[in-house]
Amino acid sequence: MLERLLILSAVLFCIGLYGVLSRRHIIAVLMALELMFNAVNIALVAFSRYVTPADLAGPGGMAENARYVLTGQGLAVFVIVAAAAEVALGLALVIALIRRTDTLDITGVSLMRR
């Protein structure tokens, strides 16, 4: 089961990366970025569920050591928060961009590297 989840996560991650690199519309780029973060979340939660350190499987077990077992899920929660902050900032830049240039096509935004 872990393999399937990891394959799903890898596929999603690659779709996201491809989207970021190929999309011309800034909103689409931000959506693709979200996809990458969520692919990571799937991997984190899957690892959290299926991988338990060997020394936690003994007496006391999962209940005793829940905070180690849940580490991956904890990190996933932080990722969700950070991704939201990232997008909020992205949307602020989108507004700044559209006020100046009247377009959201980022091919139009390349003054440098002439």
């Binding site: 991650f13 970025l33 990571v40 991997a43 180690y68 991956g72 990190l75 950070a82 990232e86 240039t101």
Partner: protein, 504 residues
């Protein structure tokens, strides 16, 4: 469980910075004179400075303290970076006093965002598990996105979008790497004071089966994490954003990115690889050696063709990151020798001084001329002899010519490489320094050998001055370059005790 006073004491430098940032935003609402806000910002840096020095005294004998259930570590290694970042911040705020007047009426927000980002960088230097690394990295880079776009002109917004997207991608790649490291080891802890607690290093699969890093999952994790950090370090092949962002961002922000941001990124790379992956040092040492060689070559060769001074400093930052990667690669004696780490720490300190001196001179000049092309620097030797001298001295130090800190820093880096059996890398570094002399000296030649341009607008191409605060910052940075160039021993000692916390 729960928050204790001890935890708060251990993060007091970061806490002081965050409180200072919030206080500045609030003060801005009641104060009429905005200059005062900046003065409060600079004076307030005394608190985190004192806190970091106080903590240094606590852990100076090689001990370490952990805060927040092992999420953060306070040792001399982390504190070295915290002190460095506070120092950079103070000089940067002083030097940009004039520049931030352009952001009226948002000067206070600018200062507050710089402080918040610096708090993230300081946390990053003391992060002891992967969650703390990620959270502090985001805290450090999100304010910088806003700062890069702060110029509100087309270039600045373009640079902001580029930095947002690329730092987002790098964060996602880094996290994917962290996910694999976590999956392979079942823990996110980099260091633990209690040897019974599992850390990544103790849980790593045995390297016995001949695969790099012991297992494919760890290999994938290490490669992805290196790529993610590579963006922050502006390491080839993840350096594409650097020149664009440096050119588009307000110059003080570019200076912040080049010094503070890069220092903290090196801090976490050193900590991750030396503690969590110390057992596999033979494998990642050669990886960093190759990356160092490629990074400095690309940075130096492409810099030759640049005509914009901020863009040139961007490529220079790439090349300098390459030199510092030599020190990361130079693990001798199975990771038991602190020479490589020590040389990186020393170089980061010296690099901050010389790069800030160069950026401050450029800030002072472009504030008046409003033109950041290299040819606009023509005749600067006559228009402003002192600024030209400071810039020339900083550039000579960036090449690595004695008696400057750049020479001493490179000497220690190359020495570390040779003692780690990487003599070819040291040779590579020397050849690259020669190449870099061409474009750095090109600026010096333009300043002293060419006539000032004819002005289209009204007025003579007259003398260029700077406010007292900027002179003070430039004086300190330049003095740092010169003093460390002739008397490097004290910083080397401090760097040595900081490196000792990482490599016992």
């Amino acid at each position: 469980m729960g928050l204790t006073l001890r935890d708060l004491m251990l993060v007091s430098p970061e806490l002081a910075l965050v409180v200072l940032a919030l206080a500045i935003v609030l003060l801005d609402l009641v104060l009429e004179r905005k200059r005062f806000v900046l003065a409060v910002g600079v004076a307030g840096l005394g608190v985190p400075l004192a806190a970091a020095l106080g903590l240094w005294a606590v852990v100076a004998d090689g001990g370490a303290e952990m805060a927040f259930h092992g999420a953060l570590i306070v040792d001399t290694f982390a504190l070295y970076f915290k002190l460095l970042i506070v120092g950079i911040l103070g000089l940067l705020l002083l030097a940009s006093a004039d520049h931030i007047e352009r952001f009226r009426p948002h000067q206070a927000e600018f200062v507050a965002l710089v402080l918040l980002s610096a708090a993230g960088l300081m946390l990053l230097a003391g992060a002891a598990d992967l969650i703390a690394v990620f959270v502090s990295l985001e805290l450090a880079s999100l304010p910088v996105v806003a700062l890069v776009a702060f110029g509100k002109n087309d270039r600045s917004i373009e640079a902001g979008i580029k930095y947002l997207v690329l730092s987002g991608v790098s964060a996602a790649v880094l996290l994917y790497g962290f996910a694999f490291l976590y999956g392979a080891t079942g823990t996110v802890r980099l260091v633990a004071l209690d040897p019974a607690l599992p850390t990544i290093a103790t849980m790593l699969p045995a390297v016995a089966d001949g695969r790099p890093f012991g297992s494919t999952a760890v290999l994938v994790g290490v490669v992805l994490a290196t790529a993610g950090f590579g963006f922050k370090l502006s390491m080839v092949p993840f350096q594409m954003w650097t020149p664009d962002v440096y050119e588009g961002a307000p110059t003080p922000v570019a200076a912040f990115l080049a010094t503070a941001s890069k220092a903290a990124a090196f801090a976490i790379v050193l900590r991750l690889f030396y503690t969590a992956l110390g057992g596999a040092s033979a494998e990642w040492s050669i990886m960093f050696a190759v990356l160092a060689a490629v990074t400095m070559s690309v940075g130096n060769v492409v810099a030759i063709a640049q005509s914009n001074v901020k863009r040139l400093l961007g490529y220079s930052a790439i090349a300098q990151a390459g030199y510092m990667l030599i020190g990361v690669a130079a693990v001798a004696g199975g990771g038991g020798d602190p020479l490589g780490v020590q040389s990186v720490l020393f170089y980061l300190g010296g690099y901050a001084a010389m790069n800030l001196a160069a950026f401050f001179a450029v800030i002072a000049i472009t504030n008046v001329t409003g033109d950041d092309r290299i040819e606009a620097l023509a005749g600067m030797g006559r228009r402003s002899p002192l600024l030209a001298l400071i810039l020339a001295f900083a550039l000579i130090s960036l090449i690595g010519i004695p008696p400057t800190v750049g020479f001493m820093g490179k000497l220690f880096l190359f020495n570390a490489a040779v003692s780690a059996d990487l003599a070819w890398l040291a040779v590579f570094g020397v050849v690259n320094s020669v190449v870099s002399a061409y474009y750095y000296m090109g600026i010096v030649r333009t300043m002293y050998m060419r006539e000032p341009p004819e002005l289209d607008g009204p007025g003579e191409p007259g003398r260029i001055g700077a406010p007292v605060a900027a002179w003070l910052a430039m004086g300190v940075a330049t003095a740092g370059v010169a003093v460390l160039g002739v008397w490097p021993a004290w910083l080397l000692d401090v760097a040595g005790s900081a490196a000792g916390a990482l490599v016992p």
